[in-house]
């Protein structure tokens, strides 16, 4: 068991650190460091433009998408090297994360299912940030029942014609391309009638409408399809095999490790180190200490679990569904931390103005954003299903839709 870098790892870390020191947009260090939880806000800068510039700089020096093959714009690096990059990139990683859907989820799907020509055409520009991608999976009627999607794709000559609606599409408004899952056969059980495509987001018939979230941000969109045409050459995988293709995408969601998961612990620690409450400085209050200890133990547990996943990766093992615990733990914890931090401040805890509130109102932002963390990308309930069935091997719940043709499944309307 060894936590320190090997000699080679240490040297690689120094190389990265030096390059970042010389090339990172250090004028963004301060604003990125105090950026509220949720969407990035950088006064006086356009976050997407800054992100694209940083990604381009990295790509030109060979620091974009480290694990991708060099042919597709990557560096052909090892998993551990990639983790070291993520650790060293630090706050600038917030800029890079604007491409995470495309690079982390669309790209692995393209690598597995697109033609070599398509890979050569699309992947390098995805790596360099020149082209942005989104993922069109969720639908209003689906919710946690991802495979219950209704967007239709019908064959018409060499094209497919798409009609329907997607929702919760991150970054659709910035995107050049997207991967899209559709229903091509409603008369077979739900997992069997699906087909995956990629498409140009500027296609005729696409209408993108931002969703205003409960916290006032608009990071997601609804995307409407009205007779949108996609050439059959842009199909990913076989007709009717869309669910299997989507699993490639979703599995890669779990591999985005090494970056640190937001739990709220550093924020509340910073608060209670300073805050005065009735009994004195908050950090000295036994009630605060007890909660703080539990939260630290959880956040350390997540960090150490991630370290174990990295170890597994470096041995060529694939991290399994046990990594579902990360978001499950972090979501609830963030919500609890935010609630408790406000509570300690009395009425002034309600203030959300970052100029006035303690800690630039990051904990208030967390209060308003954390309910979504417990829902997006798999609700707490879905994650517990995954853990109990796929990790513990418990039997699945009774299913009302098993083996039933999609168009015969009860839907309440």
């Amino acid at each position: 068991m060894e936590f320190s870098d090997t000699k080679e790892e240490a040297a690689f870390r120094v190389e990265i650190r030096t390059w970042i020191d010389n090339n990172a947009p250090d004028y963004l260090f301060e604003p990125l460091s105090s950026s509220g939880f949720g969407s990035i806000q950088i006064d006086g800068f356009d976050p997407m433009a800054e992100a694209k510039q940083w990604q381009k700089t990295k790509a030109e020096a060979g620091w974009a998408c480290l694990q991708w093959p060099k042919d597709y714009g990557g560096r052909g690096a090892t998993p551990i090297e990639s983790v070291i990059w993520n650790q060293e990139e630090g706050v600038y990683g917030q800029l890079s994360r604007m491409f995470i859907i495309g690079q982390g989820m669309c790209a692995p799907t393209m690598m597995t299912f697109a033609s070599e020509d398509q890979k050569q055409r699309y992947l390098p520009k995805l790596a360099s940030g020149e082209e942005v991608w989104c993922q069109l999976f969720s639908e209003p009627h689906g919710g946690s029942d991802l495979a219950g999607l209704r967007t239709r794709a019908e064959k018409d000559g060499d094209d497919w014609v798409i009609n329907g609606q997607k929702i919760w599409t991150s970054g659709a408004q910035h995107s050049d391309f997207g991967i899209l899952i559709t229903r091509t056969d409603p008369e077979v059980p739900k997992h069997r009638g699906l087909t995956m495509f990629f498409l140009d987001m500027k296609s005729v018939g696409i209408d993108i409408r931002p969703i205003k979230q409960a916290n006032g941000d608009s990071g997601f969109n609804e995307v409407y399809f009205d007779n949108v045409r996609i050439p059959d050459a842009q199909r990913l995988g076989e007709v009717g095999e869309g669910w299997k293709v989507s699993l490639t995408t979703l599995m890669n969601e779990r591999l985005a490790i090494g970056g640190s998961i937001t739990t709220g612990f550093p924020e509340i620690k910073e608060l209670v180190d300073q805050l005065r409450i009735a009994s004195g400085t908050a950090i000295n209050d036994p009630a605060v200490r007890s909660k703080l200890a539990d939260w630290y133990a959880k956040s350390a547990g997540l960090k150490n679990t991630a370290a174990r996943a990295i170890s597994a990766l470096s041995k060529g093992e694939t991290p399994g569904p046990e990594n579902s615990i990360g978001k499950l733990v972090a979501g609830g914890m963030m919500q609890d931390i935010a609630k408790f931090s406000l509570d300690l401040q009395g009425l002034s805890g309600a203030i959300v103005d970052p100029e006035i509130a303690a800690g630039s109102a990051r904990l208030q932002a967390m209060l308003m954003r954390s309910p979504a963390v417990r829902i997006e990308g798999g609700t707490d309930q879905i994650l517990r299903n995954i853990i109990s069935e796929r990790v513990l091997g418990l039997p699945e719940d009774m299913r009302a839709d098993k083996g039933i043709p999609f168009n015969k499944i009860p839907s309440g309307n």
Binding site: G346, D353, P371
Partner: protein, 366 residues
């Protein structure tokens, strides 16, 4: 023994419910949320016409004198409908402070106007970004003039008169100040419909309310009494949030069945119900203690406050979870209850502070 509200009180509650249902829909609420108005004047006027503001104010001062049990039920409806009006600040805080500590002249001057809704009152305490302790109060009241800044005053945006905790010679006192000639600035909070403002007094005229130097202890009494009424608002909000969750879970299908048939969600809602029920029973007792000025009001109020805070926080939070992604849109109403629950948790000081008060109020052999 009869642990229930009277039919008369329930009838009044029902009238308020019907009025709010018909006149305080979410359009009304959202125009305040979106900043088109600071509060709903039409709802405020409607409540005035029904005499709701004056429910517990003696008829000698222009009130209806229907008692606190009735006022608690009114609070429950206001909470259920998230009524965007300065009721809590004006009635639970300002009117209570004046009734409890004011001179006869002050009562005669202000209570009738508060009772009729003609004047809106509030209470200003917090000056720093922390739970206030006496040392934090630097606003001064000297020679009839107030000087200083109150950081966050609920309904401070629209109040006409404010009870202010201020420093006098060598102690803290409550003083009463009309808000005609002060600087007020809107301050953003988790619930934009609470009309919060930062108010700066510069040689503003004011008058002592009650005895000098007993400001902190009178405040504590006002808070205990207000806690009961706020607890009923929280109870109303919690109940409505649970209703929303149950309604959605019955109608929304996933995996070929209503999501409300999944134990994970059913049991979550069962726990919401449990929290609500415990809070409701504690609120009932606290209402009785308030109405009867019972010796254990401090304990009953803290108990109701703690359990109603927990119930509203739980129900509003997990209502979002039951709604899934939809629950986190601006368009759905879930976040309005979540916002309100978090503001109401803090308005009289945080939950931890009330837990501490509860334990202090426990009899020696419980």
């Amino acid at each position: 023994m009869n642990f229930d509200f009277s039919d008369d009180d329930k009838m009044v509650q029902d009238q308020i419910n019907r009025f709010l249902r018909d006149n305080c829909g979410f359009g009304e609420f959202r125009s305040v949320l979106e900043g088109e108005a600071t509060y709903s004047e039409s709802v405020w006027r409607g409540l005035s016409e029904m005499g709701v503001q004056g429910t517990a104010i003696p008829s000698a001062y222009g009130g209806v004198e229907a008692g606190y049990l009735s006022l608690c039920l009114a609070a429950r409806e206001l909470g259920a409908h998230l009524a965007p009006v300065p009721f809590s600040s004006s009635i639970y805080l300002a009117a209570e402070a004046i009734q409890g500590a004011g001179s006869e002249a002050q009562k005669e001057e202000w209570l009738p106007k508060l009772a009729s809704g003609q004047v809106i009152g509030t209470l200003a305490v917090t000056e720093t970004v922390q739970e206030p302790v006496p040392e934090d109060i630097t606003t001064t009241f000297v020679n009839g003039k107030l000087n200083g800044t109150k950081l966050v005053v609920p309904h401070g945006l629209m109040a006409d008169v404010v009870v202010v905790l201020a420093r006098t010679n060598d102690g803290l006192s409550l003083v009463l100040a009309p808000l005609s000639d002060v600087e007020r600035r809107s301050i953003d909070t988790v619930d934009p419909t609470m009309g919060s403002a930062t108010i700066t007094f510069k040689d503003s005229p004011a008058k002592l309310l009650g005895q000098p130097h007993d400001g902190w202890s009178v405040l504590s009494t006002v808070y205990n009494r207000a806690a009961v009424m706020f607890a009923f608002e929280q109870l109303g909000g919690a109940e409505r949030a649970l209703d929303m969750a149950v309604g959605y879970a019955k109608e929304r299908f996933a995996f070929g069945r209503p999501i409300g048939s999944f134990q994970a969600l059913k049991h979550m809602m069962a726990d919401m119900y449990v929290a609500l029920k415990l809070a409701e029973s504690n609120c009932y007792y606290a209402a009785w203690a308030l109405q009867n000025d019972s010796d254990d009001l401090a304990l009953a109020a803290a108990t109701a406050r703690v359990s109603a805070t927990q119930a509203f926080q739980l129900c509003s939070r997990d209502n979002i979870q039951v709604h899934g992604g939809m629950g986190f849109t601006w368009e759905y109403d879930c976040h309005l209850y979540y916002r309100r629950s978090n503001y109401l948790t803090l308005v009289l000081g945080g939950l931890s502070a009330w837990e501490d008060k509860l334990v202090s109020a426990l009899p020696d052999a419980a």
